[in-house]
């Protein structure tokens, strides 16, 4: 039974995490100068990242409870509360969101020259909404953040994106909106079924009827599967990734698509354990298809960003595979892989952005032989490529290995097929690396490329460090999430087994 441990810090840490970026955005409204806007946005995002220090420092990883809790009535007529808390599952995502926002602002420093102030406002609002999603413990509050996220992301893609940005922005918006509104109806149904509460912790312990679980799970699935994105709901992702500005791609790959998987963990599994178990085979199959399909598609791409986008589909297949393996290895591997994917794919898009800013082309064939021109960039890209492939010693290896361990215990065949995906992943990533970095310079435009400048190196450094820290000492991450993940698995199994047992008992009585 998860409880909300009230915040003891003396200051509302979680509210600050949500409102510091909002305040930053409001301050920016009064700023006219583009240069000042950049610095102010950076300042606020760094303050936000600084707030993660007390968050992680005071986080007690030995319990599965929600910590730093805040709760106050908000809309009393509907029994809605402003209720926040973090546990081992969400705390890492809060940190990752804060980090990637700082990096996004730094990578946009010279890349974005049009309407800089508005760009930074959108980024900061996006950050607030993302962190709100991870902290909210009231379904209504969660939904507000979940939907509010669409506005800045839509504008980021649509205003500062590539040539085909309008199509991509609308597609992104409509796809995710359709999934979300179906979830909204399910949220309302859950509210009434549980006697009028949106409180996540209460709902976790409420036992819904089996038939109700089946369709409510399906409605939540509509929202989360689109966001992840799971095959076959992934078609918005390549468009959105390709057209988004670099900062948008980093946030999209790093955080936004993790929210689908986070939604499974926070809501679908604990609320609807019976349905989870009933749907598991289907979801496992979709995950495996996604792994192979994403990898297969990645091979065929001629566009740098599109290749990485399809690799995301493949990697997110691993995440859902791990989560729905329904054992602690799979689950913890899935959570870790979400963080890993955020770091490595965020870094990959960062890498694309750095080079795109110089060449203004995303066509892979326009590159080649960059190693001789931009050695620092080549080294950075190497590390990230290896992390994405999952080379031992990097973060990717730990995540994928743990997931396969869990999947194997669930059903060996899934693990076998998924490992083919790893091989394919190594194939397309190394081939990409070869085409871009190795060989001779074939494109005369690339003769005078400049290497990564100090600003870019500083922005890239945290990601590189994380690749190795998690790769060499994964316990740092596992420790934080272990209690919560373990509790979640126990909770699902305990809650799911109760209902059939009761039904059986009832059946036995009637039979006698």
């Amino acid at each position: 039974m998860i409880e909300l441990i009230p915040n003891q810090l003396g200051y509302p840490l979680l509210s600050l995490l949500i409102f510091v970026p909002v305040i930053g955005a409001i301050v920016l409204l009064a700023v006219r100068d583009a240069g000042a806007a950049r610095w102010i946005a950076l300042l606020f995002s760094v303050v936000e990242l600084g707030l993660c220090v007390p968050l992680l420092g005071n986080f007690n990883s030995s319990v599965a409870h929600m910590q730093f809790g805040e709760s106050m009535p908000w809309i009393t007529a509907w029994n809605i509360h402003y209720k926040l808390g973090v546990d081992g599952i969400s705390v890492l995502f809060v940190g990752l969101s804060a980090l990637l926002t700082v990096i996004s602002i730094m990578v946009s420093w010279t890349a974005v020259t049009d309407r800089v102030r508005e760009f930074m406002i959108a980024l900061l609002f996006l950050e607030a909404a993302m962190i709100g999603v991870f902290l909210a413990l009231d379904l209504f509050l969660f939904y507000i953040f979940w939907e509010a996220m669409l506005i800045p992301m839509y504008l980021l893609i649509g205003v500062w994106g590539g040539p085909n940005r309008l199509y991509a922005a609308v597609k992104f918006f409509l796809y995710t909106l359709v999934g979300s509104v179906l979830m909204l109806v399910a949220i309302l149904a859950v509210y009434f079924a549980a006697g009028g509460t949106f409180d996540v912790l209460t709902l976790m312990n409420y036992k819904f009827g089996r038939a109700f679980q089946m369709w409510a799970f399906a409605a939540f699935f509509a929202a989360f599967a689109v966001k992840v994105p799971m095959f076959p709901f992934h078609t918005w992702l390549p468009d959105a990734h390709v057209e988004a500005p670099t900062a948008g791609s980093i946030i999209l790959a790093g955080i936004l698509i993790k929210m689908g998987a986070y939604g499974f963990l926070r809501f679908s599994l604990p609320f609807f354990p019976d349905a989870t178990i009933a749907y598991t085979p289907a979801i496992m199959v979709l995950s495996v298809i996604g792994i192979i399909y994403g990898a297969y598609m990645a091979f065929a791409q001629t566009d740098f960003k599109k290749l990485i986008a399809y690799s995301s589909v493949s990697h997110m297949g691993f995440v859902t595979l791990g989560i729905f393996a329904m054992n602690s290895q799979g689950l913890e591997g899935g959570i870790l892989q979400m963080i890993n994917h955020g770091v490595s794919t965020g870094a990959l898009f960062f890498g694309v952005g750095v080079i795109y800013e110089r060449t203004h082309t995303r066509v892979i064939a326009d590159y080649g032989g960059l190693a001789s021109k931009v050695p620092v960039y080549a080294a950075f890209f190497m590390i990230i490529t290896l992390s994405s492939i999952g080379l031992p010693g990097t973060n990717g290896f730990v995540g994928e290995f743990t997931i396969l361990l869990g999947a194997f215990q669930h059903k060996a065949i899934y693990a076998v097929i998924a490992s083919i995906g790893i091989i394919l992943g190594a194939g397309y990533m190394l081939w990409l690396y070869q085409r871009i970095i190795f060989g001779t310079v074939t494109n005369p435009h690339n003769e005078h490329l400049t290497d990564m400048n100090p600003r870019e190196i500083v922005a890239a450094l945290p990601l590189v460090i994380l690749v190795f820290v998690v790769g060499l000492y994964p316990n740092a991450a596992f420790q934080v999430m272990h209690a919560s993940a373990d509790n979640l698995i126990k909770h699902v199994h305990a809650k799911a087994s109760v209902v059939p047992a009761a039904v059986q008992a009832a059946g036995a009585l009637i039979g006698n």
């Binding site: 007529a77 649509g158 922005a169 409509l174 109806v185």
Partner: protein, 484 residues
């Protein structure tokens, strides 16, 4: 004599707000002779003061409830809620009109007088305790709006709008009176409470009752622009002066729902099982036609016309759901809708320059570059109309769909949210034009303190209600006392 005069005035007390509005309207007509052409805005401010006085009287009368003048006039929290909503709609309507009338060169005192007459009609509709009063109020409102729609005498589109609205409006009034006469024939009374009492003891399977309620659905459906009684809306909305369109999409629509609620949630409540399914069907049709046809529009006023049809559909979902929460959700929704729609029309009016209409959706191209404030306000209103949090539109839709789920009509909620997602497409298109296209032309936006005030009020309301809806929500729920 003195005491009887005092008695007389005391008897009139419940009517004071209506009397103030009428008096102001009549004095506007008089003062019109003495105000020069270029100073007509004074009449607008004068009318606004009248609205504020009437509003303060309504607030003062909040404690007084009961039925007056032989049960024909009701004073209850329900009517108070709607009267306040009408003041908001009328006040905002006057504010967005002043500069616009100057530009169109139709600044005449009658305009404000007609708006006030229409408002008074709406107030009577909300307070009606009797079919006769109801009809009286409705016609007072409708006739004033017919004239307003055709107010640009020299403009053929405006003329068309006025005539079309008049003809179809007259037709729907005929159907309504027919339905009312059937009710009267059955129950022997025109008093709403009397009819309710009759229905409670009547044989509800009587087809005449069903026919009567269908006729009322049809005629009120016309007033709130529900499908299939919506044909007039795009033409009238497009042809009427934009400021009138803004007022029309807010005031009369809210009034129509006030009457629908009074009739279907109160008087005809015993028939809810039958009417609910009709209303649900109309709601689905209305959401479908409104949202889908809006996609194809190139004129912003026509698009907002179809959007207003769609929004009537959402509100009908709440009406079909029924019960206290269903009724309260409709009340909250129409208020929020009136404010955010008024705001969107306010921005459309800003684009109206002499020489160019500024009514094509394409005219919004690049607004985000040339006028950041106007574009940002439009952005907020459009996201609110789409129903994206943290804007008020989301709260309204949330309550509507919540009451539908509560009533067990999950299918209706699913249909509603899906059409709501479709609506994102055409609202986003305007945002796209504003922010993602280059400006095609010079923008010199219409600016006036009155318009700025109207927009400031609307945007503040949209955000405050969106973030902290408790106050308005509790007010709407409390206003149901007495009718349910």
């Amino acid at each position: 004599m003195v005491t009887s005069l005092q008695d007389f005035l005391r008897q009139l007390l419940p009517l004071y707000p209506e009397l103030v509005v009428i008096t102001i309207a009549l004095t506007v007509l008089l003062l019109d002779f003495f105000v020069e052409r270029r100073n007509k805005a004074i009449l607008g401010w004068y009318s606004l003061i009248g609205i504020v006085i009437a509003a303060s009287m309504t607030v003062k009368l909040m404690g007084t409830t009961g039925s007056f003048f032989g049960g024909t006039f009701l004073l209850d929290p329900f009517s108070t809620y709607f009267k306040l909503a009408f003041y908001v709609a009328c006040g905002l309507g006057i504010l967005v009109s002043m500069k616009f009338l100057d530009i169109e060169n139709i600044h005449r005192g009658e305009y404000y007088a007609l708006m006030l007459f229409a408002t008074c009609g709406m107030m009577l509709m909300a307070s009606a305790g009797d079919l006769i009063t109801l009809y009286l109020g409705l016609e007072l409102m409708a006739l004033s709006i017919y004239v307003l729609a055709g107010f640009m005498r020299s403009d053929s589109r405006s003329n068309e709008a006025g005539i079309k609205y008049l003809l179809l409006g007259a037709f729907s009034s005929g159907i309504m009176v027919y339905g009312m006469s059937l009710l009267y024939g059955m129950s022997g009374t025109t008093n709403l409470n009397g009819i309710l009492a009759f229905l409670r003891g009547a044989d509800l399977s009587n087809p005449v009752l069903f026919l009567a309620s269908v006729m009322l659905v049809v005629s009120f459906g016309f007033k709130v622009a529900a499908v299939p009684f919506h044909m007039w809306v795009p033409d009238v909305y497009e042809g009427a002066p934009t400021s009138v369109t803004a007022f029309m999409s807010a005031g009369p629509k809210v009034a129509g729902f006030a009457v629908l609620l009074r009739m279907f949630a109160h008087t005809l409540q015993p028939l809810h099982a039958d009417t609910s399914i009709i209303l649900a069907g109309i709601a689905v049709l209305t959401m479908a036609v409104g949202n889908i046809l809006a996609i194809a529009q190139t004129n912003i006023k026509r698009m907002l016309a179809y959007s207003s049809i769609a929004h009537a559909g959402y509100a009908l979902v709440g009406l079909a759901a029924g019960g206290p929460d269903g009724a309260a959700s409709v009340m909250l929704y129409v208020l929020i809708y009136a404010v955010m729609n008024m705001g969107a029309f306010g921005v459309v009016i800003m684009l109206r320059r002499s020489g160019a209409r500024g009514e094509e959706i394409a005219d919004f191209a690049g607004l985000g570059k040339t006028n950041k404030t106007a574009a940002f306000l439009m952005l907020i209103f459009l996201f609110s109309l789409t129903g994206i949090p943290p804007m008020a539109g989301f709260v309204g839709k949330f309550y509507i769909f919540k009451s539908a789920v509560q009533a067990g009509m999950i299918w209706l909620a699913v249909v509603g949210v899906l059409f709501s997602a479709i609506s994102a497409y055409f609202y986003l298109r305007v945002i796209m034009l504003m922010y993602m296209y280059e400006p095609k032309q010079e923008f010199s936006l219409v600016q006036s303190p009155a318009l700025a005030l109207a927009l400031a009020i609307s945007v503040t309301a949209v955000i405050v209600i969106g973030v902290y809806p408790s106050r308005v929500l509790d007010f709407a729920r409390a206003s149901l006392i007495g009718i349910l």
